[in-house]
Symmetry: C2
Subunit: 230 residues, 2 copies
DNA sequence: TAGATTGTTAATCGATTAACAATC
DNA sequence: TAGATTGTTAATCGATTAACAATC
Protein backbone atom coordinates (compact mmCIF):
# COMPACT_ATOMS: atom_id res chain seq x y z
CA UNK A 1 0.00 0.00 0.00
CA UNK A 2 3.06 2.22 0.09
CA UNK A 3 5.45 3.10 -2.63
CA UNK A 4 8.62 3.76 -0.73
CA UNK A 5 10.02 0.35 -1.42
CA UNK A 6 10.03 0.75 -5.16
CA UNK A 7 11.30 4.27 -5.02
CA UNK A 8 14.15 3.08 -2.88
CA UNK A 9 15.03 0.39 -5.41
CA UNK A 10 15.40 3.10 -7.97
CA UNK A 11 17.55 5.11 -5.61
CA UNK A 12 15.01 7.83 -4.97
CA UNK A 13 14.00 7.53 -1.35
CA UNK A 14 10.87 9.48 -0.62
CA UNK A 15 10.36 10.42 3.00
CA UNK A 16 6.62 10.28 3.11
CA UNK A 17 4.75 7.14 2.10
CA UNK A 18 2.12 7.48 -0.60
CA UNK A 19 -0.80 5.10 -0.50
CA UNK A 20 -1.72 3.27 -3.65
CA UNK A 21 -5.44 3.04 -4.27
CA UNK A 22 -7.09 -0.36 -4.31
CA UNK A 23 -8.36 0.43 -7.81
CA UNK A 24 -4.76 0.36 -9.01
CA UNK A 25 -3.92 -2.79 -7.05
CA UNK A 26 -6.89 -4.59 -8.56
CA UNK A 27 -5.53 -3.97 -12.01
CA UNK A 28 -2.00 -5.23 -11.33
CA UNK A 29 -2.78 -8.96 -11.61
CA UNK A 30 -4.30 -8.36 -15.02
CA UNK A 31 -1.21 -6.50 -16.22
CA UNK A 32 0.86 -9.33 -14.82
CA UNK A 33 -1.18 -11.86 -16.75
CA UNK A 34 -0.89 -10.03 -20.07
CA UNK A 35 2.82 -9.36 -19.63
CA UNK A 36 3.37 -13.02 -18.83
CA UNK A 37 1.72 -13.95 -22.10
CA UNK A 38 3.73 -11.39 -24.06
CA UNK A 39 6.88 -12.71 -22.42
CA UNK A 40 5.97 -16.28 -23.37
CA UNK A 41 5.32 -15.10 -26.90
CA UNK A 42 8.84 -13.70 -26.99
CA UNK A 43 7.79 -10.05 -27.21
CA UNK A 44 10.67 -7.89 -26.03
CA UNK A 45 9.15 -4.46 -25.57
CA UNK A 46 5.74 -2.85 -25.66
CA UNK A 47 4.44 0.70 -25.61
CA UNK A 48 1.58 1.83 -23.40
CA UNK A 49 -0.32 2.46 -26.63
CA UNK A 50 0.04 -1.12 -27.89
CA UNK A 51 -0.68 -2.59 -24.47
CA UNK A 52 -3.76 -0.42 -24.19
CA UNK A 53 -5.15 -1.81 -27.43
CA UNK A 54 -4.44 -5.36 -26.33
CA UNK A 55 -6.01 -4.95 -22.90
CA UNK A 56 -8.74 -2.52 -23.91
CA UNK A 57 -7.90 0.17 -21.40
CA UNK A 58 -6.47 3.64 -22.01
CA UNK A 59 -2.74 4.15 -22.47
CA UNK A 60 -3.02 6.97 -19.99
CA UNK A 61 -4.27 4.66 -17.29
CA UNK A 62 -1.46 2.20 -17.92
CA UNK A 63 1.19 4.90 -17.57
CA UNK A 64 -0.47 6.34 -14.48
CA UNK A 65 -0.74 2.92 -12.88
CA UNK A 66 2.89 2.00 -13.44
CA UNK A 67 4.07 5.39 -12.29
CA UNK A 68 2.54 4.82 -8.89
CA UNK A 69 5.50 2.54 -8.33
CA UNK A 70 8.17 4.74 -9.81
CA UNK A 71 8.10 4.28 -13.58
CA UNK A 72 9.44 1.26 -15.40
CA UNK A 73 9.60 2.60 -18.93
CA UNK A 74 11.89 4.58 -21.11
CA UNK A 75 10.93 7.52 -23.29
CA UNK A 76 10.96 6.73 -26.97
CA UNK A 77 11.25 2.99 -26.27
CA UNK A 78 8.33 1.83 -24.17
CA UNK A 79 8.47 -0.90 -21.56
CA UNK A 80 10.73 -3.92 -21.50
CA UNK A 81 8.32 -6.84 -21.16
CA UNK A 82 10.45 -9.15 -19.02
CA UNK A 83 11.59 -6.37 -16.71
CA UNK A 84 8.08 -5.01 -16.25
CA UNK A 85 6.69 -8.49 -15.69
CA UNK A 86 9.21 -9.18 -12.98
CA UNK A 87 8.77 -5.82 -11.30
CA UNK A 88 5.00 -6.23 -11.11
CA UNK A 89 5.55 -9.70 -9.73
CA UNK A 90 7.71 -8.20 -6.99
CA UNK A 91 5.15 -5.50 -6.26
CA UNK A 92 2.53 -8.23 -5.87
CA UNK A 93 4.87 -10.10 -3.54
CA UNK A 94 5.03 -13.14 -5.79
CA UNK A 95 8.77 -13.46 -5.22
CA UNK A 96 8.08 -14.27 -1.57
CA UNK A 97 6.86 -17.55 -0.15
CA UNK A 98 3.52 -17.73 1.58
CA UNK A 99 2.41 -20.74 3.54
CA UNK A 100 -1.28 -21.42 3.68
CA UNK A 101 -3.81 -23.83 5.08
CA UNK A 102 -7.24 -24.67 3.80
CA UNK A 103 -10.11 -24.88 6.27
CA UNK A 104 -12.87 -26.98 4.77
CA UNK A 105 -11.81 -29.89 2.55
CA UNK A 106 -15.04 -30.20 0.57
CA UNK A 107 -15.23 -29.81 -3.18
CA UNK A 108 -14.22 -26.18 -3.15
CA UNK A 109 -11.39 -26.67 -0.69
CA UNK A 110 -10.03 -29.53 -2.78
CA UNK A 111 -10.45 -27.55 -5.98
CA UNK A 112 -8.37 -24.75 -4.54
CA UNK A 113 -5.80 -27.19 -3.17
CA UNK A 114 -5.24 -28.58 -6.63
CA UNK A 115 -5.36 -25.24 -8.32
CA UNK A 116 -2.94 -23.81 -5.81
CA UNK A 117 -0.19 -26.18 -6.71
CA UNK A 118 -0.83 -25.89 -10.40
CA UNK A 119 -0.72 -22.14 -10.33
CA UNK A 120 2.36 -21.93 -8.15
CA UNK A 121 3.49 -18.43 -7.41
CA UNK A 122 5.03 -18.78 -4.00
CA UNK A 123 1.83 -20.02 -2.39
CA UNK A 124 2.54 -23.26 -0.60
CA UNK A 125 -0.30 -25.34 0.73
CA UNK A 126 0.83 -26.85 4.02
CA UNK A 127 -2.36 -28.39 5.40
CA UNK A 128 -6.06 -29.12 5.00
CA UNK A 129 -8.59 -29.28 7.81
CA UNK A 130 -12.18 -30.39 8.08
CA UNK A 131 -14.79 -31.32 10.68
CA UNK A 132 -15.83 -34.37 8.67
CA UNK A 133 -13.96 -37.41 10.05
CA UNK A 134 -14.73 -39.38 6.88
CA UNK A 135 -12.15 -37.25 5.09
CA UNK A 136 -9.28 -37.91 7.49
CA UNK A 137 -8.00 -40.91 5.57
CA UNK A 138 -8.12 -38.92 2.36
CA UNK A 139 -5.06 -37.38 0.81
CA UNK A 140 -5.22 -34.23 -1.30
CA UNK A 141 -2.05 -33.27 -3.14
CA UNK A 142 -0.15 -35.59 -0.85
CA UNK A 143 -1.51 -34.03 2.32
CA UNK A 144 -3.77 -35.83 4.76
CA UNK A 145 -6.93 -34.00 5.82
CA UNK A 146 -6.73 -33.22 9.54
CA UNK A 147 -9.28 -32.52 12.25
CA UNK A 148 -9.93 -28.92 13.18
CA UNK A 149 -8.46 -29.44 16.63
CA UNK A 150 -5.01 -29.63 15.06
CA UNK A 151 -5.13 -26.14 13.56
CA UNK A 152 -3.79 -24.22 16.53
CA UNK A 153 -0.60 -26.21 16.91
CA UNK A 154 -0.15 -26.59 13.16
CA UNK A 155 -0.26 -22.85 12.56
CA UNK A 156 2.40 -22.24 15.19
CA UNK A 157 4.68 -25.03 14.08
CA UNK A 158 4.49 -24.30 10.35
CA UNK A 159 4.56 -20.51 10.33
CA UNK A 160 1.32 -20.19 8.38
CA UNK A 161 0.48 -16.80 6.84
CA UNK A 162 -2.78 -17.38 5.06
CA UNK A 163 -5.92 -19.36 5.85
CA UNK A 164 -8.33 -20.23 3.06
CA UNK A 165 -11.87 -20.44 4.41
CA UNK A 166 -14.05 -22.83 2.43
CA UNK A 167 -16.59 -23.70 5.09
CA UNK A 168 -20.29 -22.85 5.43
CA UNK A 169 -21.09 -19.40 6.70
CA UNK A 170 -22.60 -20.77 9.88
CA UNK A 171 -19.18 -21.59 11.30
CA UNK A 172 -17.02 -19.15 9.33
CA UNK A 173 -17.20 -16.24 11.75
CA UNK A 174 -16.20 -18.37 14.75
CA UNK A 175 -13.40 -20.14 12.95
CA UNK A 176 -12.05 -16.86 11.61
CA UNK A 177 -11.90 -15.50 15.13
CA UNK A 178 -9.97 -18.55 16.26
CA UNK A 179 -7.57 -18.32 13.33
CA UNK A 180 -6.82 -14.72 14.21
CA UNK A 181 -6.09 -15.70 17.79
CA UNK A 182 -3.63 -18.28 16.49
CA UNK A 183 -1.77 -15.53 14.67
CA UNK A 184 -3.06 -15.86 11.10
CA UNK A 185 -2.39 -12.62 9.21
CA UNK A 186 -4.62 -13.06 6.17
CA UNK A 187 -7.84 -14.86 5.29
CA UNK A 188 -8.99 -15.75 1.79
CA UNK A 189 -12.68 -15.98 2.52
CA UNK A 190 -15.07 -18.04 0.39
CA UNK A 191 -17.85 -18.15 3.00
CA UNK A 192 -20.91 -16.02 2.24
CA UNK A 193 -20.49 -13.81 5.20
CA UNK A 194 -18.47 -10.74 6.11
CA UNK A 195 -15.80 -11.51 8.67
CA UNK A 196 -15.03 -9.10 11.43
CA UNK A 197 -11.33 -9.17 12.13
CA UNK A 198 -9.11 -6.83 14.13
CA UNK A 199 -7.05 -4.12 12.47
CA UNK A 200 -3.95 -5.60 10.89
CA UNK A 201 -5.57 -8.83 9.76
CA UNK A 202 -6.39 -8.98 6.10
CA UNK A 203 -9.50 -10.42 4.51
CA UNK A 204 -9.89 -10.96 0.78
CA UNK A 205 -13.44 -12.01 -0.01
CA UNK A 206 -14.56 -14.20 -2.88
CA UNK A 207 -18.31 -14.05 -2.62
CA UNK A 208 -19.39 -16.34 -5.45
CA UNK A 209 -23.08 -15.77 -4.91
CA UNK A 210 -22.55 -12.01 -5.21
CA UNK A 211 -20.82 -12.56 -8.51
CA UNK A 212 -23.63 -14.76 -9.81
CA UNK A 213 -26.24 -12.22 -8.75
CA UNK A 214 -24.40 -9.51 -10.65
CA UNK A 215 -24.50 -11.75 -13.69
CA UNK A 216 -28.20 -12.30 -13.14
CA UNK A 217 -28.88 -8.57 -12.90
CA UNK A 218 -27.05 -7.79 -16.10
CA UNK A 219 -28.68 -10.70 -17.89
CA UNK A 220 -32.12 -9.38 -17.01
CA UNK A 221 -31.19 -5.91 -18.22
CA UNK A 222 -30.21 -7.23 -21.61
CA UNK A 223 -33.34 -9.32 -21.86
CA UNK A 224 -35.56 -6.36 -21.05
CA UNK A 225 -33.66 -4.19 -23.49
CA UNK A 226 -34.13 -6.78 -26.21
CA UNK A 227 -37.83 -7.12 -25.57
CA UNK A 228 -38.00 -3.39 -26.24
CA UNK A 229 -38.84 -2.67 -22.59
CA UNK A 230 -41.96 -3.82 -20.86
CA UNK B 1 -28.85 -1.47 -16.36
CA UNK B 2 -31.94 0.66 -16.76
CA UNK B 3 -34.30 1.95 -14.19
CA UNK B 4 -37.49 2.32 -16.13
CA UNK B 5 -38.90 -0.92 -14.87
CA UNK B 6 -38.93 0.10 -11.26
CA UNK B 7 -40.16 3.54 -11.99
CA UNK B 8 -43.00 2.01 -13.91
CA UNK B 9 -43.90 -0.19 -10.97
CA UNK B 10 -44.25 2.91 -8.89
CA UNK B 11 -46.42 4.55 -11.51
CA UNK B 12 -43.87 7.14 -12.56
CA UNK B 13 -42.87 6.24 -16.08
CA UNK B 14 -39.75 8.04 -17.15
CA UNK B 15 -39.27 8.33 -20.86
CA UNK B 16 -35.51 8.20 -20.95
CA UNK B 17 -33.65 5.26 -19.46
CA UNK B 18 -31.03 6.02 -16.85
CA UNK B 19 -28.09 3.68 -16.61
CA UNK B 20 -27.17 2.35 -13.21
CA UNK B 21 -23.45 2.26 -12.56
CA UNK B 22 -21.76 -1.09 -12.00
CA UNK B 23 -20.50 0.26 -8.67
CA UNK B 24 -24.10 0.32 -7.47
CA UNK B 25 -24.91 -3.11 -8.91
CA UNK B 26 -21.91 -4.61 -7.16
CA UNK B 27 -23.28 -3.48 -3.83
CA UNK B 28 -26.80 -4.89 -4.31
CA UNK B 29 -25.97 -8.52 -3.46
CA UNK B 30 -24.46 -7.39 -0.17
CA UNK B 31 -27.56 -5.41 0.70
CA UNK B 32 -29.59 -8.46 -0.22
CA UNK B 33 -27.52 -10.64 2.08
CA UNK B 34 -27.85 -8.31 5.07
CA UNK B 35 -31.57 -7.78 4.52
CA UNK B 36 -32.07 -11.53 4.32
CA UNK B 37 -30.42 -11.91 7.69
CA UNK B 38 -32.46 -9.11 9.22
CA UNK B 39 -35.59 -10.72 7.82
CA UNK B 40 -34.64 -14.09 9.32
CA UNK B 41 -34.02 -12.35 12.63
CA UNK B 42 -37.55 -10.99 12.49
CA UNK B 43 -36.55 -7.34 12.14
CA UNK B 44 -39.47 -5.44 10.63
CA UNK B 45 -37.98 -2.11 9.64
CA UNK B 46 -34.60 -0.44 9.50
CA UNK B 47 -33.35 3.08 8.88
CA UNK B 48 -30.50 3.89 6.54
CA UNK B 49 -28.61 5.03 9.63
CA UNK B 50 -28.93 1.68 11.42
CA UNK B 51 -28.18 -0.28 8.28
CA UNK B 52 -25.12 1.87 7.65
CA UNK B 53 -23.73 1.01 11.07
CA UNK B 54 -24.38 -2.68 10.53
CA UNK B 55 -22.81 -2.77 7.08
CA UNK B 56 -20.12 -0.17 7.70
CA UNK B 57 -20.98 2.07 4.81
CA UNK B 58 -22.46 5.58 4.86
CA UNK B 59 -26.20 6.09 5.25
CA UNK B 60 -25.97 8.52 2.37
CA UNK B 61 -24.68 5.83 0.06
CA UNK B 62 -27.45 3.46 1.06
CA UNK B 63 -30.15 6.03 0.29
CA UNK B 64 -28.49 7.01 -2.97
CA UNK B 65 -28.18 3.39 -4.03
CA UNK B 66 -31.80 2.52 -3.34
CA UNK B 67 -33.02 5.68 -5.01
CA UNK B 68 -31.47 4.59 -8.27
CA UNK B 69 -34.41 2.23 -8.47
CA UNK B 70 -37.10 4.59 -7.34
CA UNK B 71 -37.02 4.69 -3.54
CA UNK B 72 -38.34 1.99 -1.28
CA UNK B 73 -38.52 3.85 1.99
CA UNK B 74 -40.86 6.12 3.85
CA UNK B 75 -39.90 9.36 5.56
CA UNK B 76 -39.93 9.14 9.32
CA UNK B 77 -40.18 5.35 9.21
CA UNK B 78 -37.25 3.92 7.28
CA UNK B 79 -37.34 0.82 5.12
CA UNK B 80 -39.56 -2.21 5.54
CA UNK B 81 -37.12 -5.13 5.66
CA UNK B 82 -39.22 -7.77 3.90
CA UNK B 83 -40.38 -5.39 1.18
CA UNK B 84 -36.87 -4.07 0.53
CA UNK B 85 -35.44 -7.59 0.51
CA UNK B 86 -37.95 -8.71 -2.07
CA UNK B 87 -37.54 -5.64 -4.25
CA UNK B 88 -33.78 -6.01 -4.36
CA UNK B 89 -34.28 -9.67 -5.19
CA UNK B 90 -36.44 -8.64 -8.13
CA UNK B 91 -33.93 -6.05 -9.27
CA UNK B 92 -31.27 -8.77 -9.23
CA UNK B 93 -33.58 -11.00 -11.25
CA UNK B 94 -33.69 -13.67 -8.56
CA UNK B 95 -37.42 -14.14 -9.09
CA UNK B 96 -36.73 -15.49 -12.57
CA UNK B 97 -35.44 -18.90 -13.48
CA UNK B 98 -32.09 -19.31 -15.15
CA UNK B 99 -30.93 -22.59 -16.64
CA UNK B 100 -27.24 -23.19 -16.66
CA UNK B 101 -24.66 -25.75 -17.68
CA UNK B 102 -21.21 -26.33 -16.28
CA UNK B 103 -18.36 -26.86 -18.70
CA UNK B 104 -15.57 -28.66 -16.89
CA UNK B 105 -16.57 -31.21 -14.26
CA UNK B 106 -13.35 -31.17 -12.26
CA UNK B 107 -13.17 -30.19 -8.61
CA UNK B 108 -14.23 -26.63 -9.20
CA UNK B 109 -17.07 -27.55 -11.54
CA UNK B 110 -18.36 -30.07 -9.04
CA UNK B 111 -17.97 -27.63 -6.18
CA UNK B 112 -20.11 -25.09 -8.04
CA UNK B 113 -22.64 -27.76 -9.02
CA UNK B 114 -23.19 -28.63 -5.39
CA UNK B 115 -23.12 -25.05 -4.22
CA UNK B 116 -25.55 -24.10 -6.95
CA UNK B 117 -28.26 -26.35 -5.71
CA UNK B 118 -27.64 -25.50 -2.12
CA UNK B 119 -27.79 -21.79 -2.75
CA UNK B 120 -30.88 -21.95 -4.93
CA UNK B 121 -32.08 -18.61 -6.17
CA UNK B 122 -33.58 -19.51 -9.48
CA UNK B 123 -30.36 -20.93 -10.89
CA UNK B 124 -31.02 -24.43 -12.15
CA UNK B 125 -28.13 -26.63 -13.15
CA UNK B 126 -29.24 -28.65 -16.15
CA UNK B 127 -26.04 -30.33 -17.30
CA UNK B 128 -22.32 -30.94 -16.81
CA UNK B 129 -19.79 -31.48 -19.55
CA UNK B 130 -16.17 -32.54 -19.65
CA UNK B 131 -13.54 -33.82 -22.07
CA UNK B 132 -12.45 -36.50 -19.61
CA UNK B 133 -14.23 -39.76 -20.51
CA UNK B 134 -13.44 -41.18 -17.07
CA UNK B 135 -16.08 -38.85 -15.64
CA UNK B 136 -18.93 -39.93 -17.92
CA UNK B 137 -20.17 -42.62 -15.56
CA UNK B 138 -20.08 -40.16 -12.71
CA UNK B 139 -23.17 -38.43 -11.40
CA UNK B 140 -23.08 -35.00 -9.79
CA UNK B 141 -26.26 -33.86 -8.12
CA UNK B 142 -28.12 -36.52 -10.03
CA UNK B 143 -26.78 -35.44 -13.39
CA UNK B 144 -24.49 -37.53 -15.52
CA UNK B 145 -21.37 -35.86 -16.87
CA UNK B 146 -21.57 -35.66 -20.66
CA UNK B 147 -19.01 -35.34 -23.45
CA UNK B 148 -18.43 -31.91 -24.91
CA UNK B 149 -19.89 -32.99 -28.25
CA UNK B 150 -23.33 -32.96 -26.66
CA UNK B 151 -23.28 -29.31 -25.72
CA UNK B 152 -24.65 -27.90 -28.95
CA UNK B 153 -27.80 -29.98 -29.01
CA UNK B 154 -28.25 -29.77 -25.25
CA UNK B 155 -28.20 -25.98 -25.22
CA UNK B 156 -30.87 -25.84 -27.91
CA UNK B 157 -33.11 -28.45 -26.37
CA UNK B 158 -32.93 -27.18 -22.82
CA UNK B 159 -33.08 -23.43 -23.35
CA UNK B 160 -29.84 -22.75 -21.49
CA UNK B 161 -29.07 -19.14 -20.49
CA UNK B 162 -25.80 -19.38 -18.64
CA UNK B 163 -22.63 -21.40 -19.14
CA UNK B 164 -20.21 -21.80 -16.25
CA UNK B 165 -16.66 -22.15 -17.54
CA UNK B 166 -14.45 -24.18 -15.21
CA UNK B 167 -11.89 -25.39 -17.72
CA UNK B 168 -8.20 -24.55 -18.19
CA UNK B 169 -7.46 -21.31 -19.96
CA UNK B 170 -5.91 -23.14 -22.91
CA UNK B 171 -9.32 -24.22 -24.18
CA UNK B 172 -11.52 -21.54 -22.61
CA UNK B 173 -11.39 -19.02 -25.45
CA UNK B 174 -12.35 -21.61 -28.09
CA UNK B 175 -15.12 -23.13 -26.02
CA UNK B 176 -16.52 -19.70 -25.21
CA UNK B 177 -16.67 -18.90 -28.89
CA UNK B 178 -18.56 -22.14 -29.55
CA UNK B 179 -20.98 -21.48 -26.69
CA UNK B 180 -21.78 -18.07 -28.10
CA UNK B 181 -22.48 -19.60 -31.50
CA UNK B 182 -24.92 -22.00 -29.82
CA UNK B 183 -26.83 -19.03 -28.42
CA UNK B 184 -25.54 -18.79 -24.86
CA UNK B 185 -26.27 -15.32 -23.48
CA UNK B 186 -24.03 -15.25 -20.41
CA UNK B 187 -20.79 -16.84 -19.27
CA UNK B 188 -19.64 -17.17 -15.68
CA UNK B 189 -15.95 -17.44 -16.36
CA UNK B 190 -13.52 -19.10 -13.94
CA UNK B 191 -10.74 -19.58 -16.50
CA UNK B 192 -7.72 -17.30 -16.07
CA UNK B 193 -8.18 -15.57 -19.35
CA UNK B 194 -10.24 -12.71 -20.71
CA UNK B 195 -12.89 -13.92 -23.12
CA UNK B 196 -13.68 -11.95 -26.22
CA UNK B 197 -17.37 -12.19 -26.91
CA UNK B 198 -19.61 -10.22 -29.24
CA UNK B 199 -21.73 -7.34 -27.99
CA UNK B 200 -24.81 -8.61 -26.22
CA UNK B 201 -23.15 -11.60 -24.62
CA UNK B 202 -22.34 -11.17 -20.96
CA UNK B 203 -19.20 -12.31 -19.18
CA UNK B 204 -18.81 -12.27 -15.42
CA UNK B 205 -15.25 -13.13 -14.46
CA UNK B 206 -14.10 -14.83 -11.30
CA UNK B 207 -10.34 -14.67 -11.57
CA UNK B 208 -9.24 -16.48 -8.43
CA UNK B 209 -5.56 -15.94 -9.08
CA UNK B 210 -6.14 -12.20 -9.33
CA UNK B 211 -7.87 -12.26 -5.99
CA UNK B 212 -5.03 -14.19 -4.38
CA UNK B 213 -2.45 -11.80 -5.82
CA UNK B 214 -4.33 -8.87 -4.35
CA UNK B 215 -4.20 -10.62 -1.00
CA UNK B 216 -0.49 -11.19 -1.48
CA UNK B 217 0.13 -7.53 -2.29
CA UNK B 218 -1.71 -6.29 0.75
CA UNK B 219 -0.04 -8.87 2.98
CA UNK B 220 3.38 -7.66 1.90
CA UNK B 221 2.41 -4.07 2.57
CA UNK B 222 1.44 -4.85 6.12
CA UNK B 223 4.60 -6.82 6.70
CA UNK B 224 6.77 -4.00 5.46
CA UNK B 225 4.86 -1.52 7.54
CA UNK B 226 5.35 -3.66 10.63
CA UNK B 227 9.07 -4.02 10.05
CA UNK B 228 9.17 -0.22 10.16
CA UNK B 229 10.00 -0.02 6.45
CA UNK B 230 13.12 -1.41 4.93
C1' DT C 1 19.10 15.29 -34.84
C1' DA C 2 14.16 13.71 -35.40
C1' DG C 3 10.77 10.60 -33.80
C1' DA C 4 8.77 8.10 -30.35
C1' DT C 5 7.00 7.50 -26.10
C1' DT C 6 7.31 8.09 -21.37
C1' DG C 7 6.43 10.61 -16.87
C1' DT C 8 3.63 14.02 -15.03
C1' DT C 9 0.59 17.90 -14.65
C1' DA C 10 -3.91 19.63 -15.64
C1' DA C 11 -8.80 18.83 -17.00
C1' DT C 12 -12.65 16.01 -16.81
C1' DC C 13 -15.56 12.84 -15.27
C1' DG C 14 -17.96 9.99 -12.00
C1' DA C 15 -18.81 8.38 -7.46
C1' DT C 16 -19.26 9.36 -2.65
C1' DT C 17 -20.59 12.21 1.09
C1' DA C 18 -22.97 16.08 3.24
C1' DA C 19 -26.84 18.82 3.83
C1' DC C 20 -31.46 19.86 4.00
C1' DA C 21 -36.13 20.40 2.36
C1' DA C 22 -40.02 17.30 1.83
C1' DT C 23 -43.05 14.38 4.13
C1' DC C 24 -44.59 10.51 6.70
C1' DT D 1 -48.11 18.74 15.85
C1' DA D 2 -43.18 17.33 16.61
C1' DG D 3 -39.76 14.00 15.52
C1' DA D 4 -37.74 11.05 12.48
C1' DT D 5 -35.99 9.83 8.34
C1' DT D 6 -36.30 9.68 3.57
C1' DG D 7 -35.45 11.52 -1.24
C1' DT D 8 -32.70 14.64 -3.61
C1' DT D 9 -29.71 18.45 -4.55
C1' DA D 10 -25.24 20.39 -3.85
C1' DA D 11 -20.33 19.88 -2.41
C1' DT D 12 -16.44 17.10 -2.14
C1' DC D 13 -13.46 13.78 -3.19
C1' DG D 14 -11.00 10.51 -6.00
C1' DA D 15 -10.15 8.24 -10.22
C1' DT D 16 -9.72 8.48 -15.13
C1' DT D 17 -8.45 10.74 -19.25
C1' DA D 18 -6.13 14.25 -21.97
C1' DA D 19 -2.27 16.94 -23.01
C1' DC D 20 2.33 17.99 -23.34
C1' DA D 21 7.02 18.86 -21.82
C1' DA D 22 10.94 15.93 -20.79
C1' DT D 23 14.01 12.73 -22.61
C1' DC D 24 15.60 8.51 -24.55
Amino acid sequence: MYEYKYNEIRGKIKVEEKEISQAVISRLPRYFRYLGELKDDGVERISSQDLSELMKVTASQIRQDFNNFGGFGQQGYGYNVVYLYEEIGKILGLDKEHRLIIIGAGNLGQALANYMNFERRGFIMKGLFDTNAALYDKKVRGLQVQPMENIKQFVKENDIDIAVLTIPKSSAVDIAEQLVSYGIKAIWNFAHVDLNVPQGVLVENVHLSDSLMKLSYNLNCYEQKENGTE
